[in-house]
């Protein structure tokens, strides 16, 4: 069986299976490969599902996500204009914050500071972006926070604990209070001894409901199989009843989609 839109299936499955409805933390992780296709997928998935999305995009520009989004069938510009998408463009904002003193606290304030303690301004930004609109009619479905990626925050001087605190605060607001979802990408640095990154990754893995891990193939580069995706369902609220389940698929990324297949069943091999 080749589920084409695998990650849709995974997220929908998670939402149905765990009682209490949405309010999930999904962790995206990549090891020895580029997992950004997962970010693009979730962005287009939630926009198409009519959710209100706050996207903290730290690693690429708005136009990059927009162009890829158009290939996947959503327009970020339209979404941003009508208020469905709140987009924090990290690269562009960092230039503003770094070179000009800002009048009000900026979400990326920590770039100017020598020893920033926490990510509170960033949390305030997220909370403000996803606060409920009280004009009577609910325009959008559940709010979603998407972060690409959290490992960059470590490179910019924040400690792993500060980033974990930030996610904790966001969970309290977005997942519990507003019944929304959080999707965040963290790189797995493997054996490069990045202690802070390992702390962050382990801490988040422990709290996530769903982990999607894109890995490079153990045997190296292959033109037809770009990597392997491991899906791990976790039920942190019910530790005794159900055991964690996991599935593994191999994938190939194409221009406008990603195709998944069972291990060893790549169309190139069959």
């Amino acid at each position: 069986k080749c589920p084409g839109r695998l990650a849709d299936y995974a997220s929908a499955y998670v939402h149905r299976r765990i009682p209490g409805g949405p309010g999930k933390l999904t962790l995206l992780c990549d090891a020895n490969t580029d997992g950004s296709f997962l970010v693009h997928h979730f962005l287009s998935f939630y926009l198409k599902a009519n959710c209100k999305v706050c996207f903290v995009a730290l690693i690429q520009s708005f136009s990059h996500y927009n162009i890829v989004g158009q290939k996947l069938g959503v327009s970020l510009t339209v979404a941003r204009e009508c208020g469905q998408l709140v987009f924090l463009e990290g690269l562009k904002s960092s230039v503003d914050v770094f070179f000009r003193a800002q009048a009000e606290p900026h979400p990326l304030q920590f770039l100017r500071e020598a020893n920033a303690e926490n990510l509170q301004p960033l949390y305030e930004f997220v909370r403000e972006a996803l606060k409920p609109v009280d004009d009577g009619e609910a325009a959008w479905r559940c709010p979603v926070l998407l972060v690409d990626d959290l490992s960059v925050l470590l490179s910019l001087g924040m400690g792993a604990v500060a980033v974990l605190d930030f996610i904790h605060y966001c969970r309290a607001t977005v997942c519990w209070e507003r019944k929304g979802n959080i999707v965040a990408l963290v790189h797995d640095s493997g054996d490069t001894e990045d202690e802070e990154n390992n702390i962050l990754l382990n801490g988040l893995s422990h709290q996530s409901h769903l982990i999607l891990r894109a890995e490079g193939l153990a045997t190296g580069f292959c033109r037809d199989v770009h990597g392997q995706l491991r899906i791990l369902w976790r039920t942190p609220s019910q530790p005794t009843t159900q055991r964690d389940q996991s599935l593994t698929y191999q994938y190939k990324i194409q221009d406008k989609s990603v195709s998944f297949f069972a291990k060893g069943m790549s169309p190139a091999v069959l």
Binding site: N32, T33, D34, S36, F37, H40, S61, F62, S63, H64, N66, I67, V68, Q70, K71, S75, T77, V78, E81, G90, L91, K92, S93, S94, V95, F98, F99, A101, L111, R112, E113, A114, N115, S151, V152, L154, S155, L156, G157, S189, T192, E193, D194, E195, E196, G216, L217, A218, T219, G220, F221, C222, R223, H226, G227, I253, Q254, D255, K256, V258
Partner: protein
């Protein structure tokens, strides 16, 4: 476009517009109008900038790195708005040569240069740029050399090893029809009049280190802060970020930063493992922010082999767009290894960005070696000679395992493998 105007002022900003009732029946994702970020400005205006061409894959504007062979490996060239990180070879011989090719290409194309170094005065660096090779002179020499090679890859149909005929050939000589990349003669210097006619800005850290900072102290080292301010100043003053709409002729700013991360910049990550681990990464982040919002391209050489804390190297790689590593054989045991006798070193394409795309151009060839011939820097697929005798194979098998272990993790972001297939 009349149809678009009737859609109302709400749709006036950039992006996709549903052009209802248009005669041309355009789809709803029609991009029109210029945008703030340099790489997305209107297509026709950008193509006219000298020394650039759009990528065949996604229309991204590319500039040449100065080495056509490297351009080919990077999917056509270096994308405007991105950072190319060169991991220096041990004695900084070939990486500084690549640096000079990059700057020389800028001069030939009329781009503005920004040269930053903590070791050499930029004016001296510019004096030592290689001279461009004119097509007619080069062709004579190239033909001479081509005759000397025994061409197994001639047009004779192969009978036994016929699969090799299907492999793509790597371009080694100048393609006279394209004006995109140029070839340079490393033994001659760039003519003085070309250097004087070019527009360049130099940042020599020892000269600038004394002036005061007007920014709050953050975790960046002094040198990096000053360099960022210098770059931002040039971009703003000369309108590379589109802030000056009066300028009719757009141009590219080529930024070259040498030996970033070395102690000469005031950074201690090459000296100790517990150095300032955020200074360099923060610098790269803000630099990339500057590049993404302007018409510029940057090449950085970094002595990564000196960085003590390996975590920093992986963070630096994640923060750069394209990463190429050079490994020269000088001084290593490989210099005398018969396997590598034709080459001067290995070149590893560690990372290629996926810009505006889910997929990217990646070369199928992972084992690449370079050599500096009399005049030309060539990059070729690493050819291993066949095992002909028992003794040869015994010693070479060990050596084969070594590079493939090195090449494995260095295979770029597509997939890294630790186990190599053992036949």
């Amino acid at each position: 476009m009349a149809a678009v105007a009737t859609c109302g002022t709400g749709a006036g900003s950039t992006g996709s517009v549903v052009a209802a009732g248009s005669k041309n029946h355009v789809t709803s994702f029609q991009r029109r109008g210029p945008r703030a970020s340099g790489s997305d400005s209107s297509y026709s205006r950008l193509v006219s900038i000298a020394g650039t061409r759009p990528s065949v894959r996604n229309g991204q504007l590319l500039v040449s790195t100065g080495l056509p062979a490297l351009d080919q490996l990077l999917g056509g060239g270096l994308a405007v708005g991105t950072v190319l990180l060169i991991e220096e070879d041990k004695y900084n011989i070939y990486s500084s040569l690549l640096f000079k090719y990059f700057l020389a290409e800028g001069i030939i194309n009329g781009h503005t240069l920004l040269v930053a170094s903590a070791k050499e005065d930029p004016a001296d660096i510019l004096q030592e740029l290689p001279a461009p090779l004119l097509d007619d002179n080069f062709k004579k020499d190239f033909d001479e050399e081509a005759c000397n090679h025994k061409t197994a890859e001639s047009n004779i149909k192969m009978k036994i090893a016929w699969r090799y005929q299907l492999l793509p050939k790597m371009e080694a000589g100048p393609v006279s029809s394209s004006r995109f990349g140029h070839y340079y003669d490393a033994s001659k210097k760039m003519p003085q009049e070309l250097i004087e006619a070019s527009k360049w800005h130099g940042f020599f850290f020892p000269e600038k280190s004394s002036s005061t900072l007007n920014i709050e102290p953050c975790s960046l080292t002094h040198g990096y802060i000053k360099l960022l301010q210098f770059i931002q100043n040039i971009i703003y003053e000369e309108g590379f970020d589109g802030s000056n709409p009066q300028k009719k002729q757009k141009n590219i700013l080529r930024i070259g930063i040498q030996n970033l991360g070395s102690p000469l910049w005031g950074d201690d990550i090459c000296c100790t493992e517990n150095g300032n681990s955020h200074s360099l990464t923060k610098f790269l982040y803000v630099l990339r922010g500057l590049l993404r919002t302007s018409l510029s391209a940057c090449m950085i050489t970094m002595p990564t082999h000196l960085i003590q804390n390996k975590a920093i190297i992986s963070r630096v790689t994640n923060l750069s767009d394209t990463v190429v590593g050079l490994e020269s054989f000088i001084g290593s045991e490989r210099e005398t290894n018969p396997l590598y006798k034709d080459y001067h070193g290995l070149i590893h394409i560690r990372q290629i960005p996926r810009l505006n795309n889910l997929i990217y151009d990646v070369s199928d060839v992972k084992d690449l070696a370079f050599k500096l011939k009399r005049k030309l820097f060539t990059i070729e697929r690493l050819h291993l000679p066949p095992d002909l005798s028992d003794t040869v194979s015994r010693s070479s098998k060990q050596d084969l395992a070594e590079p493939s272990k090195l090449l494995g993790p260095g295979c770029g972001v597509m997939a890294g493998g630790k186990k190599h297939l053992d036949f």
